[in-house]
């Protein structure tokens, strides 16, 4: 058997040593993460669950702003952790994966760590205190799968939250604009109403003035016609012999 063959055969030999029950637990745990509402509960749940894996004597799960320890750990570097405070920044964003992001607890002797990170962000760590490294090595890739799965779920939730926030912002803006438009419409309606009232007033004024003019006109035209009529009568009477025009008019009256 060549070295390459031996390397290829190694994983299948390792798999034979893996306890199917533990693998089942790891798979079942993936189902449960959906029902756990926040990072604290996820950390509490997984710290307990990972303790059931052979070779692990204590486990600390740091996710988002939550850090939960199951069992007792000999190492005590966590109080001075500089990483945790940055897991969730003030603006709610997470640390990008391209930045160097370390768990110093995982670097201590007898400890192992697995990052919980999605494509773009760090979410935290699974850190184990181990007594038999060979056992943990058997399950390492499966725990890594689990950590990736948790990261994926957390990333999805984060995206969903961002989407919800963007949606809420949009709805708020729409509401604000609707309010502004409503106010502008009301102002416009009030102005239009005022304008209509003004037109009505002016129309009434004009109509009154026109009526007055008409009455004056009728009066003046009537007088003029009467004058013309009288002038004609005077001429007619003056043309008659022996009567003065004044007398004739007096007689007529």
């Amino acid at each position: 058997m060549t070295e390459a063959d031996r390397r290829e055969e190694q994983p299948s030999q390792d798999l034979q040593k893996v306890d199917a029950r533990i693998l089942g637990q790891l798979l079942a745990a993936q189902n449960v993460v959906f029902a756990l509402p926040d990072t604290l509960r996820i950390a509490e749940f997984y710290s307990q669950m990972l303790m059931t894996i052979p070779g692990i004597t204590a486990c600390r799960v740091c996710l988002g702003g939550s850090s939960v320890l199951a069992g007792e750990m000999a190492s005590d570097v966590c109080p001075a952790c500089e990483t945790m405070p940055h897991l969730v920044q003030e603006d709610g964003t997470l640390i990008p994966t391209h930045l160097d992001f370390k768990c110093h607890l995982a670097d201590q002797p007898g400890m192992r760590g697995i990052a919980v990170a999605a494509d773009r962000h760090h979410f935290g760590f699974f850190v184990f205190q181990i007594d038999q490294a060979t056992f943990l090595e058997l399950y390492h890739s499966f725990i890594s799968n689990l950590s990736s799965y948790v990261a994926l779920i957390l990333d999805n939730r984060r995206q969903k939250d961002l989407l919800q926030k963007a949606n809420d912002d949009l709805e708020r803006k729409v509401e604000e604009r609707t309010h502004e438009l409503k106010a502008a419409n009301e102002e416009l309606a009030a102005y239009r109403e005022h304008l209509e009232e003004l037109v009505r007033e002016r129309t009434a004024e004009l109509e009154a003035r026109t009526a007055e003019l008409k009455r004056m006109n009728d009066l003046f035209v009537g007088r003029e016609l009467r004058m013309i009529e009288l002038k004609c009568r005077i001429k007619e009477l003056e043309s008659k012999p022996g009567r003065s025009a004044a007398k004739a008019v007096d007689d007529e009256d």
Partner: protein, 211 residues
Amino acid sequence: MNDEKLGRGKGLQEVLPDCHHVCLIYDNEEQRRKTVTEYLASGLKQGELVRYFADMTSPQELRGWLLEAGVEFSKAEEDGAFGIAGAESAYCPSGRFVPQEVIANMVSRYDVARKAGYRGSRACGEMSWALRDIPGADRFLEYEVRINMITETFPYIGMCQYDARLFDGATLFKVLQVHPYMIAQGQIVRNPLYIKPEEFLATLERDRDKT
């Protein structure tokens, strides 16, 4: 138990064995409503004595769920085949929670049901009462594990509901360790996290000794 019955895309009763102790861990009401309605409906359909122990849900709300899903339950409720009771009074009738007493009540309810011609006795309970300051409430995990120890003689059919927004993650993990079946996100799974009752009781005792 028929493991082949477990599968996706089927109704609850199609995938659960005739006797089962299942937990529902949920974090939203819509999901719970669907599962609980289906679970109660399947019990009524199969001619079982069905009891719901409500803690956060009002009886009117529960009846509304069933009505909306088109489940015929009014006659069963009149006949006593279906009943809704307060979880706290059902689990802690004396004002104190004693696991053995509750289990004894369940067994006698099953016997009564069988004598009355029911196919079995089904219970569905909201477990949020266990978080209240009731004497003995901290023994709820012991109760859950002891149910599994009598399944040889008592065919338990029951679903325990745990609101993941109320219970902490470590407790939810222990809850899973004492239920042979679980429903998470609508999926029924033969629970690999379940451990032997004796093993769990030993862990409980160790934890008690520590505290």
